[in-house]
Symmetry: C2
Subunit: 372 residues, 2 copies
């Protein structure tokens, strides 16, 4: 499949450098590119799939084949609760939800409050649990199916330690050090966490026996998958499959959305309407020209415009509508301020609905949260 | 207190070398010798105390002072269940039970099935749990008080992971490596275990708030106490106190009772009468002479005789009776075969009663075992 055909909206500066790196990463990591055929076969309309945010995989074809044969398959994607959730955090959960809807499969969501507690110097035990509770409500609000969705938090569903221990026995410190870049001054919780993470990924099989699990991850997390795929064989399990996402840019246009600058560079799920408006208007990196006159004359560049990118990634599933926005912005018909207004409305519609569902989630939590 | 006065039965070869080393260890570890005054103040008739098997301590005076003021105090001693229990394993539990009887305090017993699983190459997860179940029955059979005795097994009471994690965050790999002699090829469960062990020792204070805990240990385990005493302050807890035991010799006369040679060098708690008789007769190192004639003429040496040592340490609490056995063996009135018969009877009486109590323990286990 030709790249240009696959990407009618062109590529942003990040995607340019990104694409080059991504091709290199595919080779470096030894993962496979998601082919047009595989993409079509997955057959979900989620923009994250059809617009190639998810671009690479390991054994996703095998997972899909089992899913289509109605064999048991599951999806697993976790959350490290070190802060309130922002849009970027949603990426793997949105795809997990789409796949659950399409294939009716179980979704497992480990909440690694222990990881964040170990790794973040200033994060207290109590605060890591508090973030967990909040983040879990955000996840339930996305609309996962009760009875088919298992959220387990390491400091609550502590029985996970039994599985982590079995993996720990087969993971040497030197292996963990190499993959996770451990240093002698890191704490021993941190050194143990690679086993815990592998336990998360194998948990669906510990829970319901041998079957294919698909793990949506960022491409930078692939080394952890290699560890767990090696370990899986020791337990007579299937090697978990993965699909790998590109980075989602921050409002500022940084390659990877990661909150900094007091969170001005990201949209948090609890940002109110006014905050969203301010952040997009003031901070969303623009592909527009310096003056309205120049913009009308020369047109803007949607490929480097964050507002357009967010519509493409998250908020405008309709390909024709997105294409029209792309064309209008590029030709100068659509001004930056108008493009931003479109995004602001979409984000605020989404977040308003999300807040309503998050409130409802408080009563549903018992249907999702695993207990010892 | 003069050492010779304190030890009417003299010193064995192991104790000779031992005593010299023990004096050195007291200095090296910076622990205190248990003074005659402290020994008297503890005031239990258990041979392990009055015959100076427990010879050193950290803050035991402080623990005792709180106990006598009726403040909350507890005792903690654990078991790593890597095999069936033998006599040597009982030492800290016998003293814990004596102290519980005397002071009415809580006793906490962590069962580190995870530790043994991590450290023993060939020990399976299932087998480590099986040994735990068996060992726990042995411990309950010793007669600890229900309601005041808390047995918690790492793979069952997995909530212990919450406490271990909090300690892990404050324990660097390099610190753990120094104290536990960790190597890069050790697994990451092993590297985490120092935090788990510290969690065991601080658990009474996590469970019931700040108070003094006394930990009976072998002197070789003191470095772990130093780690946990440092950590305790971070949680606003009391530094746990310790009393340190000398090594208990094996039947063969090895300095530390540790099963080897298919267990012929130790008495297991499930050895039947015939096995006990055979092991003592064939393998208990003797201080007797080569012939009966020579023995009658020159006398035996109870100070190097394992049968006498076991009577002294475990089975003859009456000082006068023990002194008579000592004198008779030394003068040649008592033959080695006769001394061994005394020990065989005492061991088999104890083990017969133990087996009966262990059978009863099966119904009591719910009163002792902590659940998540």
């Amino acid at each position: 499949m030709n790249k240009k055909e696959a990407k009618p909206y062109g590529i942003t500066p990040w995607e340019v450098s990104g694409d080059l790196d991504y091709e290199k990463l595919i080779k470096d990591f030894g993962v496979a590119k998601i082919s047009g055929e595989l993409r079509g076969s997955i057959g979900v309309s989620n923009p994250l799939i059809k617009r190639e945010i998810y671009f690479a995989h390991r054994d996703a074809d095998k997972w899909l084949s089992d899913a289509k044969k109605k064999k048991r398959v599951s999806i697993l994607t976790g959350r490290g609760p070190s802060e309130k959730m922002h849009l970027g955090h949603l990426v793997p959960f949105l795809i997990a939800k789409s796949l659950q809807e399409k294939f009716g499969c179980d979704v497992y969501i480990p909440i690694s409050d222990d990881e964040k507690f170990f790794v973040k110097e200033g994060l207290s035990y109590e605060k890591s649990i508090e973030y967990s509770k909040d983040n879990i409500l955000d996840l339930i609000a996305l609309g996962f199916r009760p009875g088919k969705t298992f959220i387990f938090e390491d400091f609550v569903y502590t029985d996970i330690y039994r599985y982590a221990a079995q993996i720990a026995k087969k993971t040497t410190y030197s292996t963990a050090r190499a993959i996770f870049g451990l240093k002698p001054e890191n704490n021993v919780g941190w050194t143990f966490y690679p086993a815990m993470q592998a336990a998360h990924i194998l948990f669906p099989q510990f829970h319901k026996g041998k079957h294919m699990t698909l793990v949506p991850i960022g491409i930078d997390q692939d080394p952890y998958m290699r560890l767990v795929r090696d370990v899986a064989e020791n337990f007579g399990f299937e090697k978990p499959a993965a699909i790998h996402a590109k980075f989602i840019p921050s409002l500022y246009g940084e390659a990877k959305m990661s909150s900094s600058d007091s969170g001005l560079n990201v949209i948090f799920l609890d940002d109110d309407k006014k905050t969203v408006e301010t952040k997009i208007k003031k901070y969303a990196f623009s592909g527009g020209k310096k003056s309205i006159e120049e913009h009308r004359r020369l047109g803007g560049d949607p490929d480097i415009d964050i507002s357009f990118q967010y519509l493409k990634i998250f908020f405008e599933p309709d390909d024709e509508k997105l294409q029209k926005i792309y064309d209008d912005y590029k030709s100068g018909i659509l001004l930056t301020s108008e493009l931003k207004e479109i995004l602001i409305k979409r984000i605020n519609d989404f977040l308003g609905e999300h807040r309503r569902k998050k409130e409802l989630a408080k009563k549903q939590i018992g249907k999702f949260l695993m207990k010892n």
